[in-house]
Amino acid sequence: MFAEAEAAHYERLQLNDAGELKHLLTLDGLSGELISQVLDTAESFIEVGSRSIKKVPLLRGKTVATLFFEPSTRTRTTFELAAKRLSADVLNINISSSATSKGESLSDMLRNLEAMAIDMFVVRHASSGAAHFIAREVTPEVAIVNAGDGQHAHPTQALLDMLTIRQYKPDFPSLSVAIIGDILHSRVARSEIAALKALGVKDIRVVGPDTLLPMAVESFGVRRCNRMSEGLDGADVIITLRLQKERMSGSLLPSEHEFYSLYGLTTDKLETAKDDAIIMHPGPINRGVEIESAVADSSRSVILEQVTNGIAVRMAVLSMVMSGQINARRVASGE
């Protein structure tokens, strides 16, 4: 009872009746076609960034609020830039100095913002499902873009990674992709796996010790590799994840040193990968912890392209979601 309805809800919540995005909460359940459409739209925005006047009027008159309940510099900056390049008014709400620290609940705070006629929330929150919760229970009429929720999803990061991969290796079904490090706590890895699968990638490996791999990770449709040699063997794309400082002590890992010697991405370990393999990292990188400096700066590294693509992808997401939300409201009001 309830289980089927809830599962359907998880996927349908972000789509309007025409199957367009009216929120972006997760990549799980999105078709490869829709993901490709986002990437195509993003490609068209890359050119905007090289103009002397970097603006298009798609979101003129709309207000976008970024609500970051967790600290972030880059993600928030790229969202803000993306919204501004779309001519939206942008409101950055500093949560630490704002209402929730005065005991106001998340839902009260969001409803207050909704009452100020804000059109879109870009939300980052430490709890998995926070974006779903807001879209479902709190402010369903406001477009929600998930900028990272707990360990669940970080859809725009995964989309910009897909765009970067596509620029170098457009034939997704033929690729072998290795994702290395702390998969367990990584919302980026979960969204990347969903996107890679939707785009037809068949060979995905997750690499790390079992303490950093989610239970039943094989059910995601990926291969569990405890050894780097196995995980990198013949890989076309290598994504290494950031290892959070707090995971390096305690019972998940013996030491930073041991992690680097086993799972750090070094020139030596890269030998088993394909010669033209690209190296990605969602940033910010810990040199000498998960990746060797020389590797991060090598010609195979596409880490800075990822950052550039981040703005274009977020422009694509913001504009598509706003348009899907407006269409949904139009249908709801019977126009």
């Binding site: 009872m1 309830f2 289980a3 089927e4 809830e6 599962a7 809800h9 998880y10 919540l13 799980d28 609940s105 998340l106 839902s107 929150h125 709890s127 998995s128 499902g129 926070a130 779903h132 919760f133 479902r136 229970e137 709190v138 929720d149 707990g150 360990q151 669940h152 999803a153 919302r187 979960r190 989610p214 239970m215 039943a216 990770v217 059910s219 995601f220």
Partner: protein
């Protein structure tokens, strides 16, 4: 919307017979219903006609002699764990509000856990609870005391004084006991004074961060999981310590099939252990959390379908002695939060009977099993002293064919955190009788 009539204890007695003689239709006056099955000797008797007490004749009550509905006359139901939230959390529930919910759900005896503020670890708190229950004047409230002071897991609570004040068992709920030495001493002390220990099996460290059952789904959607071993490790050490000390142990709210196996093995060895399962774990599985709906946030977490089926089988096989509603009213604001931050709990007292009837209709649980698991089962757990088969009796009249959709505004419980609001249910408690007095009757069916 249906209306109901409540009366307080001490009003006119109308049912004088004891349960075992009801079968002989010894209620002499009143309406004669044609299709009634009476609970007798742990069985539902064949359909027969029965006179129901005079007060039930009130025209607004809607009972008519030619009704083709089937009615069940059951013993007053007993719930081993229902959080009434008083003292301390009166915005979530009071002894009065939740007593009404209990009565409307057919429960005449309810055990209340010590998760109050202050914690029920002193006779003064126990007396306060019993006093409030007396003022409410509806059901029989049986407090369960904290096993350690403040549920701190360190210092033994005054178990004997608490027992004398009216507590029927001690428990530390999910709060960790400091170490095995303290736990063993708690068991030894309880054993010396013949006090039942109700233990909620969960290894504190393994369960600490989890908010949903650990599974492929929790992994995929990134909800921190409570692994099965968080429960089974605790069950195994509790069983071994019970064997070692001879304490009367009751394992409450077990959720895993593997726990059922371990309890079955312990019972087979002759250990006097009993167990209950929370209603939600019989009805729902872990797939319900797929969309992060906070209404499905409960402790213990909803487990796999295989676990659910094993729990049902454990009841049928007699390994699990009782069902508890594990009723936990939660105010709207505390539920309106992202899944992990929402307060756990479901408000289930008022829908327990139709939901269990639904399991029977689906062929998953025999009616005899769940009725026993809400009457003779919990009585066995508590020992007859606290819940003597009352004379005059506690009874519940259920219209098994009543169709209804519970609405938030209709629930007497302050907690509207019930997934079944607005859902079509079949079967409804239409009258509840405590000590032979009709204290609740549904009006205008």
């Amino acid at each position: 919307m249906n209306k109901a009539i409540f009366r307080k204890r001490g009003s006119d007695a109308v049912v004088r017979s004891a349960p075992d003689s009801i079968r002989a239709a010894s209620i002499e006056t009143g309406l004669q219903l044609q299709r009634v099955r009476v609970w007798h000797d742990d069985h539902l008797a064949e359909i027969a006609s029965l006179h129901v007490p005079e007060l039930l004749e009130a025209p607004a009550f809607g009972l008519t002699e030619d009704s083709q509905h089937e009615y069940w006359l059951l013993p007053g139901l007993i719930d081993l764990s229902s959080a009434f939230r008083e003292p301390g959390f009166e915005h979530q529930g009071t002894i009065d509000s939740e007593s009404r919910a209990a009565l409307a759900g057919g429960f005449t005896t309810v055990c209340c856990p010590p998760s109050t503020d202050p914690v029920n670890d002193s006779p003064a708190v126990t007396r306060l609870i019993l006093e409030q229950a007396g003022l409410a004047g509806l059901i029989k409230v049986l407090p369960i005391a904290a096993m350690t002071a403040g549920l701190g897991g360190d210092v033994l609570a005054d178990m004997c004084a608490l027992k004398q004040a009216g507590c029927v068992a001690v428990t530390n709920l999910r709060a960790p006991v400091k170490n095995s030495l303290v736990l063993r001493r708690c068991f030894e002390y309880a054993r010396s004074h013949d006090i039942c220990v109700l233990a909620v099996p969960e290894d504190a460290a393994l369960g600490a961060y989890g908010v949903a059952s650990e599974s492929d789904l929790s992994s995929k959607i990134g909800l921190p999981g409570v692994p099965e071993v968080a429960e089974t490790l605790a069950v195994s050490s509790l069983l071994i310590l019970a064997e070692d000390t001879g304490v009367r142990l009751h394992l409450s709210q077990i959720s895993c099939g593997r726990s059922v196996e371990m309890i079955a093995a312990a019972k087979q060895r002759g250990l006097a252990v009993t167990a209950d399962v929370a209603l939600a774990n019989l009805l729902l599985n872990d797939r319900c959390v797929a969309s992060f709906n906070p209404v499905f946030r409960v402790q213990p977490p909803l487990r796999s379908e295989a676990d659910r089926l094993a729990l049902l089988k454990g009841l049928e096989d007699g390994v699990i002695d009782a069902i508890t509603t594990h009723h936990e009213p939660v105010d709207e604001a505390s539920k309106l939060a992202p899944f992990a931050e929402a307060q756990p709990g479901m408000s289930l007292l008022e829908v327990a009977v139709p939901l269990l009837m639904g399991l029977s209709a689906a062929g998953e649980l025999r009616p005899e099993t769940w009725i026993a698991a809400l009457s003779s089962g919990p009585r066995r757990v508590l020992g007859d002293a606290s819940t003597n088969a009352a004379v005059p009796p506690d009874l519940v009249l259920v219209d098994t064919d009543a169709e209804w959709r519970p609405q938030a505004g209709e629930l007497y419980s302050k907690g509207k955190n019930c997934p079944w609001l607005g859902q079509a249910l079949s079967g409804r408690v239409i009258a509840t009788i405590v000590d032979g007095r009709i204290l609740y009757q549904l009006d205008g069916v």
